[in-house]
Amino acid sequence: MAVELEDKLAILAEGAKYDVSCASSGSVRRNRDGIGNAASCGICHSWTSDGRCVSLLKILMTNSCIYDCAYCVNRRSHDVQRVMLTPAEVAELTIGFYRRNYIEGLFLSTGVVRSPDYTMELLIEAVRSLRQEHRFNGYIHLKLVPGADPLLVQEAGLLADRVSINLELPTREGLTLLAPDKSRDAVIGPMRQVNSLIVVNRAERQASRKVPRFAPAGQSTQLIVGATNESDHQIVTLSEQLYRRLDLKRVYYSAFIPVMADTRLPATPVSPLRREHRLYQADWLLRYYGFQAHELLDAGTPNLDTDLDPKTGWALRHLALFPVEVNRAEYEVLLRVPGIGVRSAQRIVRARRQGHLGIDDLALLGVVMKRARYFVTARGRYAGEGALDSRMLRSRLVDTTAPQKTKQMALPLFQPLPSDVALSTVTGEL
């Protein structure tokens, strides 16, 4: 049965879109004689109607799969049309889109057909054809198939800019419950291998620049949030370990969206988007702001506050450290002030060499005074009103970005009937 390329593309995009990895950054690949290069800063080319950016052609080689993971659209028992791209088709689409500047590169993932090794070889073949026959130097993110031969993993890393294996479920128990065919070790094993290959490659390249780069943009992974009942504390601690021990470049979090019914899955009608957002904020605090997981969460407070960003939450628990004087505080201290980010902290350090900064100068430097005013002084002046009091501050700083629908005061006559109430809990409005 011949399926048109157009239909295949739609089916395989459908199967790949729940993988949230989107980065096209962090690599170096010069364009010598072919097409494309990988810039060190990522470039987004478009944004879909869910507000997620498009920078790579994100697609599956095939959506056939021998596994039956409960959370996955491509599971064996799901009744969907199965199609497969040839390596030539992958190359044609990638080059065609790239030349028109629709994309910054390719993200190639796949369902597992026949065996992990066979599948991995398929992916490698497609990428090899792009790199060698088409002289494509753009960004390639390649998925590793859990359980594939270490030699194939090595080959993949030499062709791709970034490689990844998705951990998907943060705990061992979750994996056993929802992905009975995969073992945690089959996932962690290749991640360890990739890490040691990167370390070895770095050392070899120090000795000789002629050694080809192995996965210059490192490796990443993805965790599904809300499919099993782990706490934010477990997730953030896991991420911290992945960053520290396996030197991962990124951990992505994907709010669980029930794409299919399964008795093992939670029956949540609303996917935990707010929780996902808070986890990303915590993740940034780990990577760029010098925070440690245990500072953000512990056994006593296992979950992030949905109403406050994690840094503000931390600051409210440590009010004794505030306010800090922006003209004297160390860079690391500035980073911990709510409303001051990496860039504004750098600018403060740069600007204060030329003279003392006043409160009004901070906004010019990009500091979000709505939050920062309660936590800083400038030339000894404090811009927040009243004394530092945790409860008062909390009520002022609660995130108002998600506008709460104002309820209309209604006479009893106009109040909704019971059937309407049932309907409105589904749509989330009254």
Partner: protein, 248 residues
């Protein structure tokens, strides 16, 4: 001090004017482009004719006096399309001549902050357009893209595309400011030229196929359960959508 000056609106013209102003430490009341918006009754207007040689000399002097970062700030300012951006640059340069390289750290100084903010806007727009340019394959064997940015960002994005597509003949046309960049794959260089488009040139049949594939793919990619049109619109403003294949 004071006075009203007029130049021809080109980058070269502005550099010529600035070289005169900075040399004589003059901060004008206003800088106009011909034709003047409204001639004040008592205003004495000094016309500064564009002088390529003088402009080049002045740019060389800027490169020596300013650090690479602050030179970039001035460059972004020169490419900005914004009311009174000429005066912002002038104030900045007068300060730079006064205090030297430490001007780089004076981010909150009133003679620095406005230009710095404007330069950031220009830089951000240039970065966004590295993603928003959409090439079409033309029957003449080259790739063509049209854009309409706020600022004259072509010189900022051309090196990126020259490295990206060095084996392609390509043209990017800035319809808003009537200029374009032409890249020649044999000579491997790009040129900024005044450009007008009169006729719609023919695209290849492969072009129509890839546009259809891309639209189809783009539609399949959105996750309905996460729909967030407000976020999408803040990232892809309506004003850029007419030039994007996937929103066509």
């Amino acid at each position: 001090m004071g006075g009203v000056y007029r130049y021809d609106g080109s980058g070269t013209g502005l550099l010529t004017l600035l070289s005169r102003l900075v040399a004589d430490r003059i901060l004008p009341e206003a800088i106009w482009v011909e034709p003047p918006p409204q001639l004040g009754l008592f205003a004495e207007v000094t016309d500064i004719p564009t002088d390529l040689h003088q402009a080049e000399l002045f740019w060389g002097e800027l490169s020596r006096r300013l650090s690479p970062a602050t030179l970039n700030l001035v460059r972004h300012g020169l490419l900005a399309v914004y009311p009174e951006h000429e005066l912002m640059i002038c104030r900045y340069l007068l300060l730079a001549w006064q205090v030297g390289r430490s001007v780089g750290g004076m981010l909150t100084h009133p003679q620095v902050a406005p230009l710095w903010k404007l330069a950031q806007q220009v830089g951000r727009e240039a970065h966004r357009y590295k993603g928003f340019v959409r090439f079409q394959e033309m029957a003449g064997g080259y790739y063509f893209a049209a854009i309409a940015p706020e600022h004259r960002i072509l010189p900022l994005i051309a090196p990126h595309f020259a490295a990206h597509f060095r084996d392609q003949h390509w043209v990017i046309h800035d319809e808003k400011h009537g200029e374009g960049v032409v890249h020649d794959r044999q000579r491997r260089e790009w040129l900024l030229l005044p450009m007008e488009r009169h006729v719609e040139p023919d695209v290849t049949s492969a072009e129509e196929r890839f546009q259809a594939l891309w639209r189809n793919y783009f539609a399949a990619l959105a996750i309905a359960e996460r729909e967030n049109l407000r976020l999408q619109q803040s990232k892809v403003p309506l004003k850029v959508r007419p030039w994007l294949v996937e929103f066509g």
